[in-house]
Symmetry: C2
Subunit: 406 residues, 2 copies
């Protein structure tokens, strides 16, 4: 008789955003007349930029002719995209990353889950708390997290690094030494970020203790503050200890178009085993490339027009972030993030729990946000709003908050 | 110090098609004047059909406007695609499959590797020999295959089911009971297939011993013979023991466009645990959907025009298959497959090994094929040619074979 992977059975409840979607659907069905403003899931709302649309159309036309039709893509992704990434995201920032260290994928969510495949089961992971749930859940599925305690909402074998108001939402070096450290800056969910000198401390620490850092830089395009690193490879020695995840979802609106990439430097070795080779093997065996037309569109993001147009979208969202920050502050909320990231992290009022505040917002103001506790125990008492709505809805949501009614 | 998944280190050499690509590149570089005909990798050459191109364009236009822009897709895939699949691929064939049993993905290769995630490490797998390498390699990566013996080219813990001329390339029930059985019909690499009554025996066996069948039906669109099942769910009881993998790569030319789906019936349970729920959890946590424009294009395959146009492409490729079969037979080769599948499986002449014949074809006739031994030890002495070339090149390749020179 076959056996299932019973690590799945240890997972508590369902994936955070599925739970939210179900709650909202139920409320919406019961109250069909209510106009709900969604500032919950980190999904973009602006259409794809004209330069991207144009390249999608021309790439589709290439697929219509035998001479330009593209079948299976190269294992690592098309070179035109990988070299463009290297020039723009790395060489331009002084990072020594080569094209054969870039692995094009269908998105950072897949990569952040799949990257665990190349590591042994008995590694100890460290995560920020609160944290993007995929890091923990995928490690739980791989049997790397021990047992789940529903009271503390913690896994026995995971090192949680609290990120709270007290430490400026920047994790501290943990007492116990981890093997794999997940860091995400600009951070999801807190919207806060890290200075280069602080990140350098993490790189130095990882090199010292022999840990690997999985660095999720999906939101780097939102950075406006000086001295905040866009890539972990801006730190000295990082190619010897860090894997970086990147996404086109938030900088170019590809949440429904799906494109990302992972950087695995050739310097990164466990003994004499190259992690670049391991990931290449995984990528070539369990994945078959992102669609050609999507990779072509990804390259269009880096053209002069593409940069200008996606830059305008980012500015639009960051203007929403300012609207939310200002609106919440004016209404007396304590607010974090939203300066170098499209997420605003707020302290719930009147000692409400995160889910109580979720229900309050949904039922009284018809606004959907994300309960901080869904991202980990230290997120309790916090709440995330995103800047990805329309400017009009964002302003309207802040009016509802100001007036205390929908 | 972090540890890698050392199962990766047990994998022999590199992925078959990467090895072939490197050999061909080296030959091509050394002989730039030679015109090489590629009948090796199973990659299509016909451009996407007009109905698909039209839908891609209109879907791209939807992504350009805020009112029709699509962000994150529903976890299982868009309902318009899943219901279309159910109507055409299942209900029309009398199979009781519902839309919430369909999981849309970026392709059958990813799914055939990822499906292993929901099973325990200590399941015993059975595979046909020869076999599509991804099934074995991904199980090796998961630590499910024991140790590799380079002499026999077998893994200690894998049940190999020889498919040879003697048994008509149809596997026999193995002596040792497996937990997970991989079956692929029409078969890659042999191009042969299975009758419904034979497949029913496998379903009955799996139900009896409590095994699960991973049924890869990526080539079903090539079936022309009556009484050959297009889906394993045509067999009685199969929803209680089988997962089916489907692809748009070969029926609609999506190798570089990436779309597939996996069927996990709600009837499929291990004790009281629903495999549908497990896969839904995996799908929702480690994957973020196929691009909207690609899913829209997938639905266009099922329109009246789409069916007609992709049907013509399949007929074109199957005409190539006939050219290859006839050409090889005329040249004195012993030939299998190529009737219900785009693959032709031939016995190498003069007791040449598969790789010797690969080198002979590449160097003397400038034809690229795939060595049978690359698919498993019982593939030694066989060779695979594919019908996915152009008609012109396919005819030219057969002339080279007839004349014994390029």
């Amino acid at each position: 008789m076959y056996k299932i992977n019973d690590n799945y059975l240890k997972l508590p409840g369902s994936y955070l955003f599925s739970t939210i979607a179900k709650k909202v659907a139920a409320y919406s069905e019961a109250n069909p007349d209510k106009e709900i403003i969604r500032l919950g899931i980190g999904d973009v709302t602006k259409p794809l930029a004209p330069a991207i649309i144009d390249r999608l159309h021309s790439a589709v036309d290439e697929m219509a002719k035998a001479e330009t039709f593209k079948g299976y893509a190269p294992d690592l992704g098309y070179e035109f995209l990988r070299t463009t990434i290297v020039e723009n995201d790395y060489k331009a920032r002084g990072c020594k990353i080569e094209a054969d260290e870039i692995f094009v994928s269908d998105g950072a969510k897949s990569d952040s889950g799949n990257i665990g495949d190349i590591f042994a089961q008995d590694n100890i992971i460290a995560v920020c708390d609160p944290v993007y749930p995929v890091y923990v859940d995928t490690n739980a599925m791989a049997g790397r997290t021990g047992t789940y305690d529903p009271t503390t909402e913690k896994w026995s074998d995971v090192i949680y690094m609290p990120c709270t108001k007290e430490n400026g939402f920047c994790p501290e070096i943990p007492a116990k030494t981890p093997d794999i450290i997940y860091l995400c800056f600009p951070n999801n969910p807190t919207g806060t970020t890290i200075k280069k000198a602080q990140l350098q401390e993490w790189v130095d620490y990882a090199l010292k203790v022999g840990a690997v850092i999985i660095y999720d830089a999906a939101y780097e395009a939102y950075i406006s503050t000086d001295d905040v690193p866009h890539s972990i490879y801006e730190c000295e020695g990082a190619t010897g200890c860090a894997i970086e995840l990147r996404s086109f979802s938030k900088n170019a609106g590809f949440t429904g178009t799906r494109l990302g990439f992972t950087v695995v430097p050739k310097d990164l070795k466990c003994g004499d085993v190259s992690l670049n080779s391991l990931w290449a093997r995984r990528h070539g065996t369990k994945f078959n490339g992102a669609p050609y037309i999507i990779q072509a569109a990804g390259a269009a993001v880096y053209t002069e027009e593409g940069k200008k147009q996606t830059g305008e979208q980012i500015a639009y969202y960051m203007n929403n972030a300012k609207t939310i920050r200002d609106g919440l502050v004016a209404a007396g909320y304590e607010v974090f993030g939203g300066v170098d990231a499209p997420y605003i992290w707020l302290k719930t009022p009147d000692k409400m729990t995160s889910w109580e505040f979720f229900d309050y917002l949904l039922e009284n103001l018809n606004i959907v946000g994300t309960p901080g506790s869904g991202f980990g125990p230290s997120g309790e008492g916090y709440f995330r709003l995103t800047a990805f709505g329309s400017a009009e809805n964002t302003v309207k949501a802040m009016e509802r908050i100001k007036n205390g009614k929908a």
